[in-house]
């Protein structure tokens, strides 16, 4: 059992995959993953993915970037290195705002990419699912549903049976790496 990562089935279209996913959910399987050539929001909902986290990461990073940019300008101009230019205020907040805004955007954008990658566990050099027969077409026109071996009720035979019943074109075992 431990030498198996899971069982995977290939489907020819999105609706077959969604049907299989709903059946698996209804039967109580919990450790599932689906691989598709384009975003399938319904499947993401069924698998309980919460993309909102990326937005929170980005907003937090943006706020931090803004604070950092403003505080740097304020501290350096007012305290560390004050220069009197014709009596103009040292704490020239309007002049500090352009850099503050744009640095906030910079942090938020970088955090969007990094947050997405961290939440997705990428970059990753290899993954057991990439060894599935015909998986190259997951980036073209095939839809895959995987039932992972760490599911508490995992049984390879039942998993294979479920996928076959749901109309999978091909069902294969994924060796663990």
């Amino acid at each position: 059992m431990s030498d198996l990562h899971g069982v995977i089935g290939a489907f020819s279209d999105k609706d077959d995959l969604l049907e299989a996913l709903r059946t698996a959910r209804a039967e109580g399987w919990t450790s599932l993953d689906a691989f598709t050539p384009h975003p399938v929001p319904e499947a993401a909902d069924l698998l309980g993915a919460r993309p909102g986290r990326v937005a929170w990461i980005a907003m937090g990073a943006g706020a931090f970037g803004a604070l950092l940019a403003y505080a740097t300008q304020w501290w350096l101009s007012v305290h560390d290195y004050p220069i009197n230019v014709g009596g103009r205020p040292l704490h020239a907040w309007p002049a500090f705002l352009p850099a503050t805004t744009i640095v906030a955007i910079l942090w938020a954008a970088v955090a969007s990419l990094l947050g997405m990658l961290v939440a997705n566990g990428l970059p990753r050099l290899s993954h057991p699912v990439l060894a599935a027969p015909g998986f190259l077409r997951a980036s073209e026109d095939r839809f895959f549903l995987m039932i992972a071996a760490d599911d508490p009720r995992f049984d390879a035979g039942q998993a294979r049976h479920l996928l076959q019943r749901s109309g999978a074109l091909r069902v294969s075992d994924l060796p663990a790496q």
Partner: protein, 434 residues
């Protein structure tokens, strides 16, 4: 398997002699750039025609121009993503690539015009040996952050959208036994495997960055314009300058995107992905943006009439003085000629659409020239000395950055999928649904 022509293009062994010729020409342009930069570093900015009061010559003209192209192309792409518009599948990828190439060309200028470009890092707030910090009340510091954010955010927007397509390229290359190509695409695909949870977060990140691009563009271009508006030069010292610079930039970027769309669908046989309706929509959008430009030019004259005498004289000197041809040329090329795109014949005829698109970009260049040089004709002090005219080293630098832009776009078309493949698949799957 349904053939995917977009993925097949970068994997072609040969691209034809015309591509090789174009690549050679662009490479020659980049060599020219290298020559211009070396001459500048060895001799100095004395090579340029700039002098008091014309301290900003070609460097600022071309910088603002390239930024305008980058902005409009990015703005267009991000709005398409946010609105989930059908046109995004056709044009987004290369609009983003054009924005990135234009910003790379733009970035060179502010660094090169510093006089001692190798000390450009002095504008960064880092603890230096002399314990001197940058002057944060200076617009130069805004410029640094503005440009840096522009480069980073534009690259991220392009790259995030590219990750799943790089995975497709990796898999297609592997299926064809092209292992080296598969390995290279694979490295940049970061191990993407198309998990639906990954897709959901990817879409969130992509749309998030698209949303961040909007304020970034407006602030970056506004910062450029504020560098003019915060001076005391009468023609520049106006609240309308940011609006003028941001909005007149749009026809230049849309013009370049339109020209690229027409060129790519012709040369790479992408009619299925970039169809007539896409080009028609893009052309009409450009005509509408030009109409907005026309309104802005009218506003410029009206504002001049209503403003105080110094401003009025400054603007009128620009519009009717020795640089008048630039202002009127800009008006015609950005605002009048693109109106032809409302007529189907002009947008359906490839050479006409390309010429009008690139013409608008040239027109905006004239507008920037008129602003930078013509705006200085009337100052608070009488002007002594000759008017500004670019010298050969300045022209060489411009030709060089055009070569850089062309080379970047050619390599992009050669090595990467020019149309967003996953968006096409997504759209097709939604079209199949009842």
């Amino acid at each position: 398997m349904r053939p995917n022509p977009v993925a097949a293009i970068p994997l072609l062994r040969r691209f034809g002699w015309s591509f090789a010729a174009a690549l050679g020409l662009a490479a020659l342009g980049v060599l020219t750039l290298g020559y211009a930069v070396m001459a500048l570093l060895l001799v100095g900015v004395g090579l340029w025609g700039t002098n008091i009061p014309f301290v900003w010559g070609f460097d600022l003209i071309n910088y603002v121009w390239w930024i305008g192209i980058a902005n409009a192309a990015s703005l267009f792409a991000s709005i398409l993503v946010l609105r989930r518009h059908g046109l995004r599948t056709a044009v987004n990828r290369f609009a983003e690539a054009a924005a990135l190439a234009a910003i790379l060309a733009a970035v060179l200028y502010p660094i090169l015009h510093l006089g001692r470009p190798w000390l450009f890092h002095w504008v960064l707030p880092y603890p230096a040996v002399y314990q001197v910090w940058p002057q944060f009340r200076s617009t130069l510091v805004w410029d640094l952050w503005g440009i840096m954010s522009h480069v980073v955010v534009t690259s991220l927007f392009w790259y995030i959208g590219l990750i799943p397509d790089l995975a497709t390229m990796r898999d297609r290359a592997q299926a064809r036994g092209r292992m080296v190509a598969a390995r290279l695409y694979g490295i940049f695909a970061l191990g993407w495997r198309g998990s639906v949870a990954h897709w959901a977060r990817h879409q969130a990140a992509y749309r998030l960055v698209a949303a961040l691009v909007l304020p970034m563009l407006v602030s970056a271009q506004t910062i450029v314009a504020l560098e003019f508006a915060t001076t005391l030069v009468p023609d520049w010292h106006q609240a309308r300058v940011p609006l003028h610079v941001v909005l007149t930039g749009i026809p230049s970027g849309l013009g370049v995107v339109l020209a690229l769309a027409v060129l790519l669908r012709r040369t790479l046989d992408l009619d299925r992905f970039i169809d007539d309706a896409d080009v028609a929509l893009l052309a009409r959008l450009m005509a509408a943006a030009s109409l907005a430009c026309l309104w802005l030019y009218a506003d410029q004259l009206l504002a001049a009439v209503l403003e105080e005498a110094e401003t009025r004289e400054g603007t009128f000197a620009r519009v009717f003085g020795p640089y008048a041809a630039l202002w009127w040329g800009a008006l015609v090329l950005t605002s009048v000629v693109p109106q032809l795109l409302w007529l189907p014949w002009f947008r359906n005829t490839a050479p006409a659409a390309i010429l009008i698109g690139l013409g608008a970009a040239a027109g905006v260049w004239l507008d920037r020239f008129s602003l930078v040089a013509g705006g200085l004709l009337r100052d608070h002090l009488p002007r002594i000395g000759p008017a500004y005219g670019p010298t050969t080293p300045e022209w060489t630098l411009l030709v060089g950055t055009v070569g850089l832009f062309a080379l970047a776009m050619l390599l992009f078309a050669r090595l990467l999928p020019v149309v967003s493949m996953f968006e096409v698949r997504h759209e097709e799957s939604e079209a199949e649904a009842p």
